[in-house]
């Protein structure tokens, strides 16, 4: 038996804005950041749980404060008790009646709960000696259903329906695990498409993406229509007719504007339009989906919880569902969202990039393939080649695929020294003692 003896929170920021990595129509100068959490026990095995909220700079201190506000739920608690019933642990956190007022189940406090839950899953997987995707994929359908809070989604997905989906997938688990290990999981890349890049850089990176085996790239749009058309033409010329090109407006438009703008981009054979408008606008997304058909609408990186995803599915507001490892309340809520997507037969193509999002979300897609939807060939995980060097178990992406992580844990642990170097505002990168270029390859 072991006790949680320390919960360390850190404000870690990478000065990505200095090179316009990650620039888009709504986020011109992000500094990719993590409100980071380390859970330490007295077990003596040296294993820790790590998790984070991903932000893009300012406000990362507030997210860190939100995680700190949750530490009474961890400190002094029996670790085995917390980890043995992750459904109960998750429900305890989302149902704190006072903290709930700050959402409920949305925004900073909800993301902080996600960081805590993910850190506990990381610890649980390390203790099991398994990568998180495999740990989840070996749980029984009953154990998986118990992870979910059905209160606000049972009108769309009952516990019995969830059980049926999971039980139907049990016989194929072993075979799909072998397939996953042999084939990898498809990826697409956003690396060429940031709005701050020149056409020349875009063209070069798009060609490299094809050479690297990616079947789809993504371009940021929504800043200026003329530029978008020119950039799309350059990208299509670079990749040829058989590579998918998705576009991402990062919430730039209203409903009518989205439909009109997309009419101008449609000739370039668009794989999907991502975040055309506010992530809160379910009915707006549904109207846009009707207006831009047959181009699929994709969203999710800012969709706050399972209740919103439920309605997006009920309203046929999205055709590509983009889970994010660090937006909702962690693994538990993402299991609910994967089950909803399976129920509605909608494909899941996770949002990633940022800091550690690729490392974390791959586990969810691989679990989904093995134990929920059973699908992967119509899906792909976003890949952006930034900041992986800071993680203990960085992703392996090659030949256009994510290759299944085999190391124990959930993937979110940063290397020793990263927190010190990039800690805000006193780490050397921010206090001016080390040039960012020296540490950001």
């Amino acid at each position: 038996m072991s006790t949680v003896i320390a919960v360390e929170t850190s404000d870690v920021r990478f000065p990505t804005s200095r090179q316009l990595d990650g620039s888009d129509a709504m986020n011109p100068d992000p500094d990719y950041s993590a409100a980071y959490l380390r859970v330490v026990t007295d077990s003596g095995d040296g294993l820790e749980g790590h998790g984070f909220v991903f932000t893009i700079g300012r406000g990362n201190d507030v997210a860190t404060a939100a995680i700190t506000a949750l530490t009474p739920y961890l400190l002094g608690r029996n670790a085995e008790g917390l980890l043995a019933d992750m459904g109960a642990t998750y429900r305890e956190l989302i149902n704190d009646s006072q903290l709930r007022w700050l959402g409920p189940e949305k925004g900073i406090m909800h993301m902080a709960i996600g960081a805590v839950i993910n850190a506990l899953w990381d610890l649980k997987a390390k203790r099991a000696g398994q990568p998180l995707w495999q740990l989840l994929a070996q749980m029984t359908p009953e154990e998986l259903v118990d992870l979910v809070d059905f209160r606000y989604i049972s009108d769309a997905l009952s516990p019995d329906e969830a059980l049926r989906i999971l039980r139907d997938a049990v016989p194929g688990r072993a075979e799909r695990t072998s397939t996953l290990l042999a084939e990898g999981y498809p990826a697409y890349t956003t690396t060429p498409g940031w709005l701050g890049y020149s056409d020349k850089k875009l063209t070069r990176l798009a060609r490299e993406a094809v050479a690297d085996g990616f079947k789809q790239i993504k371009l940021k749009v929504g800043g200026n229509l003329e530029n978008d058309v020119r950039r799309l033409r350059a990208a299509r010329t670079a990749v040829g007719p058989n590579i998918g090109i998705a576009v991402d407006a990062n919430q730039r438009w209203g409903v009518a504007e989205a439909i009109e703008w997309m009419a101008h981009l449609a000739p370039f054979n668009i794989a999907w339009i991502e975040e055309p408008t506010s992530p809160d606008d379910i009915l707006g997304h549904a109207a846009i989906a009707r207006g831009v058909a047959p181009i699929p609408v994709a969203t999710g990186e800012h969709v706050q919880n399972r209740v919103m995803f439920k309605q997006m599915l009920q309203a046929d507001a999205l055709q590509v569902l983009q889970i994010d490892a660090a937006r909702v309340a962690g693994v538990n809520e993402n299991v609910a969202i994967l089950l909803l997507a399976a129920k509605f037969g909608v494909r899941v193509c996770p949002h990633a990039g940022g800091v550690g999002l690729c490392e974390a979300v791959q586990h969810l897609s691989m679990f989904d393939f093995v134990a929920v939807s059973g699908q992967k060939d119509d899906r792909m995980i976003e890949f952006v080649d930034h900041l992986h060097e800071h993680f203990v178990t960085p992703i392996h992406v090659h030949d256009g695929c994510y290759w299944p992580p085999l190391a124990p844990g959930g993937g979110s642990e940063m290397l020793p020294g990263v927190i010190e170097t990039f800690g805000f505002p006193h780490g050397p990168v921010w206090s001016g003692h080390v040039a960012a270029e020296a540490v950001c390859a």
Copy 2:
């Protein structure tokens, strides 16, 4: 010309849980709290802007940190510049690209923006020597429309439609101002209905409410059906057949459960069912509204922004729209929501209670009556008789009405000494040096 020279933030908490004031099915033991903000300039006139985020205890420190994260938008800025174009000031805050990631436009960071915006409106009204409702009601339709961000609502309300609504109301402004000053604005009371109160206390308070001139009371429900039926019977017996009784489930139910539960309460002639389920569930509210008709559905105190209200109206998900002064991004976003409600012809009955919510929200309803909807006799503002004694300009509620505040400002300024006494965790109420009973009447 003056400059913002100080922005003071405070974590203020009232130990209301010790008496079960404010208890309901989801919030058994709230400590009503304010993440409080004071904006000080060097104008020499002694006028300050005050605003707050209302919370119910834990996490108030995180809300305070969120306000603190916004102080760079105020400190050192020209005050006249900030106040002269409140539309631009509001848009500057909600469009900070890095902070926006933390919502967008929801949760703690959004509420913190609301506190800042409301503090600036408080200062602007004090400088004008007018109560906020009057300041707003004397602005031109063009000035009012410029306060609104239409990006995500223009599919339901265009700037031209908003202008038309406001222009139609101009001719009647003077007459309605006189009517308001002569008649007051209708109130209803939740004081009898907290879940933690005994039937005896409920009956006594319900009778007192009627004697005090209220035409409607509200009871918390959703904890236990048998208890709800018994308490409703007691309340109906106490108030007689001609007083409205609304019920409030505080998000306790799923869709099917809400409809079923309400079938048992319907015989008591229910004025509205409030917050039957998650405030995020637009389609769920619409289904419940169809299922419990003709009982109206009310919601809003947790509805995060204008985009969600827009859809609630588009989907006919609510028949009573409950704005809250401190949930959305302040006066500006509430002007947008009032215009949406007017466009859809839905009545607005604000949420209040808590700490300072009554003091703040009355200005919005009175402005709405004078300059937007022109209606008040089908509407009422919630009244709870808690904690008003801590404010410089407490509400005047008697004869079942709110009486228009005449003092300059927006109502949210606390009395000197309150922050010190109730400051968390070092104020004497929390550090144990003063018994709460000695300071909470």
